[in-house]
Point group: C2
Chain length 212, copies 2
């Protein structure tokens, strides 16, 4: 009955990076398991009529996002953010690689992809960048890249994105609990973890109540 | 040299309500003065092509906003949120009244308007609703409503909205410091207050450095 939280993230999303850097430690402190679910925001944005990031479509919003990221990186002790060029990056291949990898290595791979992009300014659409990360974490790059482009991986990523949309997800990062409670944004990570923990506590109480 | 923070709010904005409920206590604890600046989001949204609230334009975003507000009201010990009908409310008259009122009564008036709307479901476009609030806070309703509709008040509110836009504001609530640092959203209130406090501390240090 260990509580769990699903972490929905998009590799091109700046605030997904911040959540990825924090979630494992915060969840461990609360005794909550985390399921890492990379998905694609592009199809969801397209569904609401956007063909680009809202941070590009709405320049004032974009300017403040980059400034907010500068402040948050400093507060969190992260390297200063580098704006990848172009922004947003094409995250399709990275999301497919993450989908195909064993779930136990997804966090490490994903954090490395975010750092390559936002701390080092590398292109995450570049196979060589992803291959170097795979090599670093001990996954054979040719195998992982081949698995990423297998039909079943492409289909799995499409299903994940469809599932995100059917859960009401419209941005990244998002967090969902077992009961379907949805939290949007890095700012809600602590509340999402507390909710997941409390849901399970309630279930345990219910079980106890049934035991004479 | 007391530090100060400007609080930019829109009466129709749910998250502006939450910030209005919290800002005076948090700022007082930090020794920061707050300048309450009601403005209109409508013209700013129109400038980016929106003729309605993003919470209506993007239904998934809207659904999660209302759920988020339910959770946040419960956490903050506020009354459960009531969805005003229509949403967003026409906030023009309320913003004009707040603009015309003496600045010392703006916080009390503004909090009462937010509560009338979001805790009691009243229409803040209704002169009678605003008159009752004015009466409650000891401001003569006929005088305050007449002042609200004076040409100089209408112009002052337009200038405030123009100034908000020129500061890079694109949503509400927002917070700006003396140096022009911009924070967006109720979630950034604590950081904005800390920034305002620190800016002044730095200025004092600079002054001290100039004193032999």
């Amino acid at each position: 009955m260990k509580p769990s939280l699903t972490f929905w993230y998009e590799f091109a999303s700046t605030y997904s990076w911040l959540a990825a850097e924090r979630i494992e430690m915060l969840a461990a402190q609360a005794g909550v398991d985390v399921g890492w679910r990379p998905f694609l925001l592009g199809p969801i944005f397209a569904g609401q009529g956007w063909t680009n990031s809202p941070f590009n479509l709405f320049p004032a919003k974009g300017r403040n996002m980059w400034r907010d990221m500068e402040r948050l990186c400093a507060r969190m002790g992260l390297p200063p953010i580098m704006r990848p060029n172009p922004f947003p990056q094409n995250s399709l291949l990275a999301a497919r690689v993450a989908t195909a990898l064993p779930v136990v290595v997804r966090p490490q791979f994903s954090c490395a992809v975010f750092r390559a992009q936002f701390a080092n300014g590398h292109s995450i659409a570049d196979r060589a960048v992803l291959a170097a990360i795979l090599d670093d974490i001990g996954e054979a790059p040719p195998d992982a890249l081949a698995a990423a482009e297998a039909t079943k991986t492409k289909e799995a990523l499409r299903r994940t994105t469809d599932q995100a949309q059917s859960l009401g997800i419209y941005g990244a990062p998002s967090f969902t609990t077992g009961s379907g409670e949805l939290f949007w944004g890095n700012d809600r990570l602590e509340q999402a973890i507390a909710w997941a923990k409390n849901e399970t506590a309630t279930s345990v109480d219910n079980l106890d109540a049934r035991t004479p």
